[in-house]
Amino acid sequence: MATLTMVQAIARTLAEEMSRDERVVVLGEDVGKRGGVFLATEGLLERFGPDRVIDTPLSEAAIIGAAVGMAAHGLRPVAEIQFADYIFPGFDQLATQAAKLRYRSGGQFTAPMVVRMPSGGGVRGGHHHSQSPEAHFAHTAGLKVVVVSTPYDAKGLLKAAIRDDDPVVFLEPKRLYRATREEVPDDDYVVPIGKAAVRREGTDLTIIGYGTSMPEVLKAGDELAKAGISAEILDLRSLVPWDIEAVMRSVAKTGRVVLVADAPRLSGVLGEIAATIAEELFDQMLAPPVRVAGFDTPYPYAQDKLYLPTVTRILNAAKQVLEY
């Protein structure tokens, strides 16, 4: 058992999966000699060689599209998009090709591939290095979408993603890459896609979060506990499919829910979850769901910390649902 940061866990997992299955190849900008801009692919080139760890030009469309072709033809490519913000030049390949290949061919072709992307804010990256674009992917049928928040999950979910028979968008909150360390087992475990984690059990309200915002969500839970309020905290981990059962079970118990993410509020994943809760549990709700999200603005450089859901904003939302 090793104590690892999230980015170390990812690099180890890629190496483990490449050792296990020679169909697994890694490609992207600076993933080879440089070891990835965040070092998520460090050491892979030396170990597996340039045929399997492929440095590409700055060509997001060709990176994703080539991964589709490789995946369709039996390989298991793991493409890295250097920042999630860079997906837009390659978005056509993801949304038009990867997502639809199985459907358009009536099940004849598949694209079992992973697109890893460092996402989210909190690193003063400005407009083009801070976004959380998960809603774009979630809105595209055919893609699975994962957002990790711990080193342990990063390993287990990355293994699940690489072994999945569908294209998986794997979002890695860059702010959390080295934020904490935790013990990551050496064994070959998988965290299934589509299962939320209950980070804290409680009875008074449910707080649902994922990705970059999870540290604030957990701190808010601690603060509430000090005030004698029992919050149940769910880390979604997967957004497509999201764990409807776990969410409904928790909210049916507490009757109150706060939803937290560092993405724009409009048409976001939180809105979808809130709507589903309202449709399914309206009679059992003690208060309307409340969202704590980023702003409906481009990502602001100077107000980076303001944009992220803070502990204070989460506590205010908790107060709102508790006092309704």
Partner: protein, 337 residues
């Protein structure tokens, strides 16, 4: 430019049965497309329909040169390629009708034909968006040491879009077995090449990536066959990609909804009269004493029946079961909302 006009055409040495099969497939495409236009007018085919009439020699010549293990990825004007590959005309027509017996169960329609058994990865309707997939197939072929070539078909319009250039660069950089086959039919929808591309000869764009290129008379099926054969040899031998530009012309509008205000009736008439690939090939085979009128007529009659049967099959086939609309989104059914 490769052409048989100057008299050299090694393709003529092909066995007579192969030559007549090429003729047969060109006629099949022509009659199939004419029938599709009729069925569209009758309301049996919905949405958007782009006919391949006039360009038959490109698909038939290229596919005749391909190995059956080679990959094919095409633009949305894809019926001709499916038929040239030998896919069942009934299932092709059923796909146009949106029937459950279509190539992909009626999910795709005109622009999204595909068939795994022929390594036909399908028609794609985002212009130039399919080219990176061909690069990936080429990369997989190289990685698996299979010596299969990925053949990418696209029009002149695609060469102005970003993914084309990304794909050319990657294929050349990594010496991938990818054949870029550009059908230059002189118009991207309603915009003439000279108004859309800074370079009129598409093949010249290949030099930016050090990819060898050739232009070929796309109305001459033997010329296309020969040029494709040589290009595939180049790709298969590990020398990297090749760029082939077939000069062709579509005799019908871009789609069924095209009033064709951007080109003159005289121009269209001239191509139809002088440059019809089927007439040119038939005349050529006749002159060379390869076949007689009765043999061509017999093929024409047979194709009329095949196409009529294809329309009947499509018409009589059942619609897809509404229950299947959510099939094949994911490997296993998943509740997402």
């Amino acid at each position: 430019m490769t052409s048989t006009v100057d008299g050299r055409s090694p393709g003529l040495a092909l066995p007579k049965s192969e030559l007549l099969e090429m003729y047969r497939r060109m006629v099949l495409i022509r009659r199939f497309e004419e029938a599709a236009a009729e069925q569209y007018a009758l309301g049996k085919i919905a949405g958007f329909l782009h006919l391949y009439i006039g360009e038959e020699a490109v698909a038939v010549g290229a596919i005749h040169a391909m190995d059956e293990r080679d990959h094919l990825v095409t633009h949305y004007r894809d019926h001709g390629y499916a038929l040239a590959l030998g896919l069942d005309p009934g299932r092709c027509m059923a796909e146009l009708f949106g029937k459950s017996t279509g190539l992909v169960g009626g999910r795709g329609g005109s622009m999204h034909f595909a068939d795994a058994s022929k390594n036909f990865w399908g028609g794609y309707a985002i212009v130039s968006g399919h080219l990176p997939i061909a690069v990936g197939l080429g990369l997989a072929s190289q990685y698996l040491d299979e010596r299969r070539v990925a053949v990418a078909i696209f029009g002149d319009g695609a060469t102005n879009a970003g993914p084309f250039h990304e794909s050319m660069n990657l294929a050349a950089l990594w010496k991938l077995p990818v054949l870029f086959l550009c059908e230059n039919n002189l118009y991207g929808m309603g915009t003439a090449v000279e108004h859309a591309s800074a370079v009129r000869e598409m093949a010249r764009k290949a030099c930016a990536y050090d990819i060898p290129a050739e232009r070929v008379d796309g109305q001459d099926v033997l010329a296309v066959y020969e040029a494709t054969r040589a290009a595939l040899e180049h790709c298969r031998s590990g020398k990297g990609p090749f760029f082939l530009e077939a000069l062709t012309y579509r005799f019908r509008g871009h789609s069924m909804a095209d009033p064709e205000m951007y080109r003159s009736k005289e121009e269209i008439e001239e191509y139809r009269r002088q440059r019809d690939p089927i007439v040119l090939f038939r005349n050529r085979l006749t002159q060379e004493g390869k076949a007689e009128a009765a043999e061509f007529d017999e093929i024409d009659r047979e194709i009329d029946e095949v196409v009529a049967a294809a329309v009947r099959f499509a018409d009589e086939s059942p619609d897809p079961d509404p229950e299947t609309v959510t099939d094949y989104v994911y490997a296993e059914p998943v509740r997402v909302s």
